[in-house]
Amino acid sequence: GGGEAEAPEAPEAEGPSEIQGKIILATTTSTKDSGLLDYILPEFTYQTGWEVDVISVGSGEAMAMGEAGEADVLLVHSPKDEAAFVEKGHADADGRFDVMYNDFVIVGPADDPAGVKAAAASDAIAAFTAIMEKEATFISRGDNSGTHKKELSIWEKAGLQPAGEWYVEAAAGMGDVITMADEKMGYTIADRATWLAVGGNTQLQIVSEKNPSGILNNQYGVICVNPEKNELINADGAKAFQNWILSAETQELIGTFGTEEFGAPLFTPNAAK
């Protein structure tokens, strides 16, 4: 993405702006289900007067919506596809910006039959290799979501091609897949936000996390959709959103989200300054 970082126009702190219209934000389920957007968006509307219709879908669909010009701005986590998206000219002139990241965790049954926790507590590639060697049940998202793409990239880096009875391709939502892993006493990879929300109800545990190489990082980016796609795209609102979410104040706000409930922030802001 381009490294441009305009200072966002700080609104006068006197009162709410007049509502001037709405933008459509297509995003992944994790940003919405984690509660992040509910936490930060009122501030955006208050400051700029743009209302936001949040459509939470898979990353794949979010980008399809962008491509079709159905959304004005995207907040997604599938960097490779995002690059391709920009390349093909679906983004506006400014392209894509990093916003924040959280991380993926590999979770598995309490008794950890593949011994991942002992062998590879912070090595995702070793963890996957151990699971495949033991043919321990592994549930894959199997739906081209950002999480699924991340999983596939780890298999690829490990030089493995998972297949067989133990490798369950369940194309369902993240929460469903965590539940399924619990039911089937298998492993899976999940984004931390969803894991924190759903994992408490299960008997699963984190078996591998915080890979030093950053392979388990879950990077979110923001993209304004190319306004030439159709005349209904709200380019002003989209740009205002992009500027706002990249602004120092918002980044700070993102950095505080989740501390109350989980004791630690769910997302780490990392907008390119």
Binding site: I24, T29, D33, D38, D53, V54, I55, S56, A68, G69, E70, G173, M174, G175, D176, I178, T179, T194, A197, V198, G199, G200, N201, K229, N230, L232, I233
Partner: protein
Amino acid sequence: MDVISAGIAQAFRLILSGDQEIVGIIGLSLFVSFSSVILSTCLGMPVGILLGTHSFRGKGVVLRIIYTFMSLPPVIAGLTVFLILMRRGPLGYLQLNYTPTAMIIAQICLVTPIIIGLIYNLVREKAPVVNRLGITLGAGRLEIMFLMIREMRIGLTAAVVSGFGRAISEVGAVMIVGGNIKGKTRVMTTYITELKSMGDYSRAIAIGIVLLIIAFVINAILYNFQEREGK
């Protein structure tokens, strides 16, 4: 099971709490489902009655198609309406996607065939008798239609109730065209789905129970009306 009983307890707490957000969600559910059922009834009832009373070439095919559309998956109904209403779509200039109006349109696509099919099936046997009575007493076409409705009101009510059940419990279509936007297009079923995907099963079940209680109250009202009229 604890989850289910917790859900039941929570359902009652929710109802008693009168939480503004929940009230809004329930209100929108009712608004969307009632609107779509009323419009579907206006469309489907005359069509069902006409099919039940008239013969014409190709009627068999029409019926088969209607029965087929009783199997229309909500996701497909939603997707089709979405594609038609989308910005680049033929009706994009109306900017209806992600509004309750779009949700109503999508539900009409689902509910109308059900209402037509059920009414046709109900009317078919009794209609000829009512029809010939109407004719010999000097009723016009429209008057005969009203007579049919009055004579078969119990069965017709049940058909409409089935349509309502379908509309209020359906999630696939309203999720796609509505987008489950908080405070705007979030209805009970999309909220249930969201809660479920967040792993909050007991709250999901609580909302489900609230939905059933509402359906029960509505059915009870219609049923009482039937009781008084029928028998």
